[in-house]
Symmetry: C2
Subunit: 242 residues, 2 copies
């Protein structure tokens, strides 16, 4: 499993992904699921990967190779809108599904690669999408500002409560980290490190990116402060009337 979140705000976008991959409980490993395509002053495109690792790595590498080829074909650095970027991601997913899918089917496994994709291309506003395993995709809207993939349930309620279009990038970042902490307490298949990227609208470059390693003291402190804070909120709520 995996947990990835993208949150679209007036101030920009917050992206976060965990790093655990596994094939059964006795075979887990650590891989970064955050990929960035950046040309400062022109575009920042961030992809967060969910699914079978072989599939998601192949899609990302294919997108990188196609961008590097610069052969006149559309690629993530040449297209003019985020929507067009998403169609390129979908094309790569479907190309690889065609190649690998039949072989996986022999073992009753389906090709499974889905992505949260967001960012900004000069001339357009910041936008946020998620793709499904079939390559089709949806875009975040004012009614649904955050998109999740993987083990989404544990971490959703706090995002539901807190995120509005005017939430600051700073508050949304803390909220996303709490959402990860809540998920990791209950699901062993989601694990540190957490990759975090805060994109500021119209920056057109990556200014804030960091990783929280396992045991990170700042992360642990945030978790403790949060738990203390919510317990204090309960004490201030009116008691139930019987």
């Amino acid at each position: 499993m995996t947990y990835c979140v993208g949150v679209l705000l007036n101030e920009g976008i917050v992206f976060a992904s965990d790093s655990r991959t596994h094939a059964g409980v006795d075979n887990f490993a650590q891989f970064c699921k955050m990929s960035v395509f950046e040309r400062a002053g022109d575009r920042v495109i961030v992809l967060l990967s969910s699914g079978n690792l072989a599939g998601t790595q192949a899609v990302i590498t294919t997108l990188r190779q196609r961008a590097a080829a610069d052969d006149g074909q559309p690629n993530l650095f040449s297209v003019g809108t985020m929507f067009d970027c998403l169609t390129l991601v979908a094309d790569a997913v479907r190309d690889l599904e065609r190649r690998d899918g039949p072989h996986l089917q022999k073992s009753a496994i389906s090709f499974d690669a889905s992505f949260i994709v967001g960012g900004q291309i000069k001339g357009d506003s910041p936008r946020l999408f998620r793709t499904y395993a079939e390559g089709n995709f949806i875009e975040a809207s004012p009614e649904t500002l955050f998109l999740q993939t993987g083990e989404a349930k544990y971490g959703k309620p706090i995002l539901d409560r807190v995120i509005t279009p005017t939430t600051s990038l700073s508050d949304a970042t803390k909220c996303v980290l709490v959402s990860f902490d809540s998920t990791m307490r209950s699901n062993l298949s989601v694990g540190m490190p957490i990759d975090l990227l805060r994109y500021e609208a119209n920056a057109l470059k990556v200014t804030h990116r960091r990783r929280f390693e396992s045991g990170n003291e700042e992360f642990s402190k945030l978790s403790r402060h949060w738990s203390d804070g919510v317990r204090s909120v309960f004490r201030t709520l009116p008691d139930v009337e019987w």
Copy 2:
């Protein structure tokens, strides 16, 4: 789906259940999933039902009929411990599974009835259990103070953060209601009314029970206050260092 929770505290036990049943999105209804066996001064036993409605109703009715028969066979009013109560629940589940199971199998449906069962019998302390569809069961312990059935994931993180053995019944009750609110925001198969029972240790009778109907103003206010409270907690947390 369903959502039921029992929380075991030093001060007593909080029980809550939703009321929605459904067979597809185009066929949903409302049934109380909380059943109480009470003999004031001697015992209070609360059952919260999850599973196929025909199965859970049959189990509860069988337990009631066996208790009323008073035929020398052990029943929920005659046995001396909560553990023995749980074996009676398991027996009823298995009796009905034997009767209905083969008929359900013809439609590829399995007999599915599980329960959160808690309460207190004179001479014993308050105890809390949950049964599985097979009739086997587990008991809450100091490391795991709350037990959930049904759509448990959305509502778990807040219980994880707040509940300790010394949490007051009052705070735990509010926490359980927030846990329900968080779940109902994301899963249409969990719905109001919410049945709530607060059992005070050694009371040996039901002193606090109520129902929150859909649109209840107190419930809506609790939800709003909670959302406001957690947003204010985020503003007090230290910002992430980049």
